[in-house]
Assembly symmetry: C2
Homo-oligomer: 387 residues x 2
């Protein structure tokens, strides 16, 4: 299994700009949510790469994971040190080939990177929503994205692609809008999470809400400790026992012997601390609560009497389904089960369980193997759609 981390190729898309799409200012234009409430004055931040063809048939919508954003690839300024979150697969000749396809990535509803979420201003009060933000679902996020796709004049997406939570959105799309989705690439995800994942999300949220700095969501400074603990815990679930052993083992941070105290002694402890603290600087605690709750609630069978066959009955598009052998957060059996059900549903399905030691993080790290699978799949789809 590949465990040596490769250096990604140089960015190929240059400087990109985010755009904001705004909707829901009139009563008939508000967003109806699963919880029964509505949202008005909604902003969706997005980025695009490549050119939309005249027929508007070459669009690929890429969904980000829990803490991702619209910045899929390239740089915002010449001084940026890091490119977008999945830069390695975007650009001429790459899986999301900007010479052929029009790639869209948008920050999810409930997020904190430009789209409307708990930290946005509630137009009813002029104050941030905070915990008055409605509890949203993955389907609500997709409904908001659908407005963006309509706005862009796209009748049918060539593909919807996503890994982890992004894969949940990708799977939700054709169930809500079967006519709008040409194909799905579902990576390291599930169509509902199990009790174990619900439990990890619960503990993370409890850590945030136990932090007195959270102040029932009304903080002005982030609940530093609680959010860092939630992130550290989640981070463990993104790696594998194997990758953590390879990366850290039992190596000590700075001394050759135990310090016999409770500071970070092992390298893995310092690493987690770093991950926790840097997360606090970039991600809103309330958004973390809302998005993990949406993940808990996600279940494509919900509006179909808990019947998956019913949920997928109008979904006839081809699927590429990928899992990773050491991913224990979204184990192979989830993807295999989805593939089996879709085969029985009559869909064209390609399923691949990639051998990798990286755990759940493999969906971002195994971009070469995954890239080849996506390139082939998208090329087949585009030949049918674009010609």
């Amino acid at each position: 299994m590949a465990t040596e981390k490769k250096t990604p190729p140089p960015s190929a898309v240059g400087i990109v700009q985010s755009q904001d799409f705004h909707f829901g200012d009139s009563p008939e234009d508000v967003l109806q949510l699963d919880c029964g409430r509505t949202l008005r004055s909604v902003t969706i931040r997005y980025e695009t790469y490549g050119k939309l063809n005249a027929e508007k048939t070459n669009a690929i919508l890429v969904e980000h994971a829990l803490t991702g954003d619209a910045h899929l690839a390239g740089y915002h300024t010449e001084n940026d040190r890091k490119p977008g979150w999945w830069d390695a697969v975007v650009g001429p000749g790459r899986p999301f080939d900007t010479d052929k396809y029009f790639i869209i990535c948008s920050n999810i509803l409930g997020g904190c990177s430009g789209s409307t979420g708990p930290s946005s201003i509630d137009p009813d009060t002029g104050e941030p929503y905070r915990m008055n933000f409605p509890v949203i679902t993955i389907a609500d996020m997709v409904r908001a994205q659908k407005r963006l796709i309509d706005h862009l004049g796209i009748k049918k997406l060539m593909a919807v692609v996503g890994g982890s939570m992004g894969g949940m959105l990708a799977n939700q799309w054709p169930i809500l809008y079967p006519e709008t989705v040409g194909s799905v690439i579902s990576i390291a995800t599930a169509i509902q999470i199990t009790a174990q994942s619900i439990a990890f999300n619960w503990v993370g949220r409890e850590a945030i809400m136990a932090d007195p700095g959270w102040k029932n969501g009304n903080y002005t400074e982030q609940p530093q400790k609680g959010l860092a603990i939630a992130r550290m815990l989640a981070h463990i679930t993104y790696l594998s026992d194997e990758s953590m052993s390879n990366k850290f083992g039992r190596a000590l941070q700075s001394s050759t012997d135990y310090s016999f105290n409770f500071n970070s002694d092992f390298r893995v402890e310092s690493y987690l601390n770093y991950q926790g603290n840097s997360f606090v600087e970039r991600f809103d605690a309330n958004s973390y609560l809302y998005i993990t709750r949406a993940i808990d609630y996600f279940d494509v069978s919900l509006d179909h009497d808990g019947d998956y066959k019913k949920a997928f009955q109008h979904v006839k598009c081809p699927y590429l389904i990928v899992s990773f052998s050491s991913d224990w957060l979204f184990p192979e059996y989830h993807s295999r089960g989805l593939a089996k059900m879709l085969v029985e549903n009559g869909n064209d399905v390609t399923f691949c369980n990639i051998q990798s030691g990286y755990g759940h993080d493999a969906f971002l790290l195994e971009y070469e193997t995954l890239g080849k699978l996506m390139t082939g799949f998208l090329s087949n789809i585009s030949q049918e759609v674009i010609g």
Copy 2:
């Protein structure tokens, strides 16, 4: 795989009493610790079952896990609702046969159930040690137990038995005192933990220490939230994805539909809350810090230049080594690796990976299968030792 929880057999040992052994009141009798410090006026709480024979050759020392205690079996009073923590395997005709063997179980050094730990009075100050308690190791815990065994006049233990952290003590025993250990039963454990387990322990401790109620260890009321979060997190690692799916699935607690809030909606969330809150009532937060640190530090090769062969070179006793197929906290490969090394070391080794869906908790739940293995192993040992 067995996933239906069986009702344990009725308790067979009746009312038992704890005893306290005290040592270290004179300068030459203090306990030397790995950290370089010493402890004086040490108490070790213990219980015994069955009778020590005249030759003192029929003693079995049973080691408890992280949050266990000396109360292995039976009841303290007639009103007790629950028997000791491993009651099912203790009594006439059971694996720890009280008609044949003399069973000893003691609360570890650093614990909070009668033995000296952070909540005990520091004789130098007359105040509880709290965070002035020295950072102890698994080897220190074993050194303290050795005093108890000497006190009982036992030259050689017929067996040392332990699961999880208890298995760490069981494995440490013959390395420190090869002449004192007749055999080892090592269950669901490891001779050092991996980065993943160090990471989980780290997050648990951070949750406790982030709770303002912890007050740098100087609390008078437990840091309720932090300790509950640490326990909930640990509890997830004791179960398996499979056992959690079987036990809870995605079942909701009290409603038929989502509540669209952040209270406990799923049954698994309520269950974790219960586990967290009841733990706070029975276990000291500072003890939790110290014991998890001892687990992190545990490595039998430490005083042997990191060389396991060297560590085990004087260890010649038979071993029964058991792991459980769905235990991801102490996966099979730990036990298999230990077994392989001991075979190469010339030891008599029986290794068994029991098929079970219970995860790490299997070491307490699979008492029937495990009991048969232990009964056979102990019977062979006792025939040689007792005749």
